[in-house]
């Protein structure tokens, strides 16, 4: 070994195979998602894993990495979907422009909710996000001329798209899956960049010790607001994907039950792990699929499994698996 220069000496070395592998997390995640439709029992399920995976991944930035337990993430998931649908259906915006517009508007909504909620802490933060998200729900319910109210938003079917001059039938489930996967890949790349950035270190410092982060020179409130907006932006992209996928936006998407489901998914998969949200979304949706076949009370069973996870596997499926691999590596 040649002696490394002082610059290389301080860079974190990828000392073992596992470490190197984990550094390729975006590519690995994309590879797994690419074969997902053939691993799961149905393609409809795979699309849902993709969509909820992105939503939960955005939420993980807020809950897992920054330690802020919000019960209002459905507001941004729903906002992404509604803004996409309204832009396409009402204003005739082409679908590829509707998605960034929807994300932008949803991020503004996240800024508004964030300004109010990030001033509070702990249980108050959770309650304020819950209340404000319910406010968004009731606005969507009441403004029915814009949102379709109780019936949900309809009339913006995207059936044919032509990216880069190609004619793609968007009603074909396989085509649809891979188009939506491109969005998921973009979201994963963006999230990975945030996590690797200096700001990614700030949010972890805020989670670990708010007082010390402040003493180190960080504006804690501002950092929380920024991460709240980034998290809302990524989750709203999941909403855009849902709108393109379903061609309708059900009102339920904004309900607090959706927020609760997002929290359950991140805990099942593993908060603070990169791929955990997709694992959690898959686990939840598979459980729902399987159990609802033989009983309408599937939520009872999913709830019981969730409780067991919180008690015995607090790091979730993916987080626990990674820990086991790391320990195994360290022993060998």
């Amino acid at each position: 070994m040649t002696s490394p220069s002082s610059g290389e000496a301080v860079a974190e070395p990828a000392s073992n195979g596992l470490g190197w592998l984990l550094e390729q997390r975006v590519l690995l995640s994309i590879a797994v998602l690419a074969v997902l439709p053939w691993l799961l029992p149905s393609q409809a399920l795979a699309v849902n894993v993709l969509i909820y995976g992105v939503v939960v991944m955005g939420y993980n930035l807020l809950f897992g990495y920054t330690g802020l337990l919000s019960f209002g993430q459905a507001a941004f998931f729903g906002a992404g979907a509604y803004f996409t649908g309204i832009a396409i259906g009402r204003y005739g915006v082409p679908w590829f422009a509707a998605v960034p517009i929807a994300v932008l508007f949803s991020t503004c909504l996240a800024a508004l909710i964030g300004i109010v909620s990030t001033r509070t802490r702990g249980i108050y933060f959770s309650m304020v996000t819950l209340a404000l998200a319910q406010l968004v729900y009731y606005v969507a319910l009441q403004a029915s001329s814009f949102t379709g109210g109780e019936n949900g938003l309809r009339g913006f079917t995207v059936d044919r798209i032509n990216p880069f001059g190609l004619q793609v039938n968007f009603l074909d489930p396989v085509n649809k899956y891979y188009v939506l996967m491109a969005f998921a890949a973009l979201a994963m790349w963006f999230q990975s960049r945030i996590l690797n950035s200096p700001f990614g270190a700030v949010i972890e410092a805020v989670r670990e010790n708010e007082q010390r982060a402040r003493a180190c020179g960080y504006d804690v409130e501002r950092s929380k607001l920024i991460v709240f907006m980034l998290s809302g932006a990524i989750s709203s992209l999941g909403g855009c994907m849902l709108a393109l996928h379903l061609s309708i936006v059900p009102l339920d998407i904004l309900h607090y039950q959706t927020s609760g489901m997002i929290v359950m998914m991140v805990l099942l998969g593993g908060a603070r792990s990169f791929f955990g949200p997709f694992v959690g979304a898959a686990a939840f949706l598979i459980l729902e699929d399987v159990i609802s076949v033989w009983t309408p009370h599937w939520q009872l069973f999913v709830g019981a499994i969730f409780v067991l996870f919180v008690l015995f596997l607090p790091k979730g499926i993916w987080g626990t698996l990674l820990d086991t691999l790391r320990v195994g590596k360290a022993r060998s």
């Binding site: 002082s6 974190e12 700001f199 982060a213 003493a215 180190c216």
Partner: protein, 251 residues
Amino acid sequence: MSSELLRAEGIGKHFGGFVALEGITMSFAAGQLTSIIGPNGAGKSTFFNILSGALTPTSGKLHFRGRELNGLPQHRFVHQGISRSYQITNIFPDLSVHENVRVAAQALTVSYDIWRNRARLTELNARADTALEAVGLLAKRGELAKFLSHGQQRALEIAIALASEPQLLLLDEPTAGMGPEETKDMVALLERLAEKRTVLLVEHKMKMVLGLSKRVVVLHHGRLLADGAPDEIRSNPEVRRVYLGQSEGYG
């Protein structure tokens, strides 16, 4: 005397009807180690929290390098060049030792950057390692901070404060909870730090303070009781009465 770094003018702090500090006026020169001592409840911690921005004084003014600090939020104090450590270990337990210090080092430059890869910001990584080396923790850089011993966590506490390369380093009882062996290491570290930096120390261990400091400030019931070289303090009858003569068990 070298140039003035920090000046406190008539600093007072009331908590409701309770007067924690009253009329503290003093100035601190660059490049020396000053200790603040006093019995429990003397107002040392309050004074310290005011100097680091954690508390806002009820009355009086703070000047640092000619700039008034009043009204500045706490997180801006580091940007002015004042950095502190804590009496009760206050680190980032689930981050690596290196990351603990690196995140403190980046606060002045790239804190809200969401784009660059922090592993490639070699200058910051090197600065974190320099701070770790200064406190003798470089060998532990990859470990999680929560797995360090108490003495090592106290040293990390100081490395975090050092990472922003402050002009004034405020250390709140760095030997709190330490055994004699660890205390000896810490004293050696403090001596090394004081060679190049302006250090303000709050301490309880009288013998250690008198051996270490160039200047000692004694607070009592929120007021300034004495201020001078260690020898003057040792022979000051007032100080002997309120502090030195008392048993260690006080408070």
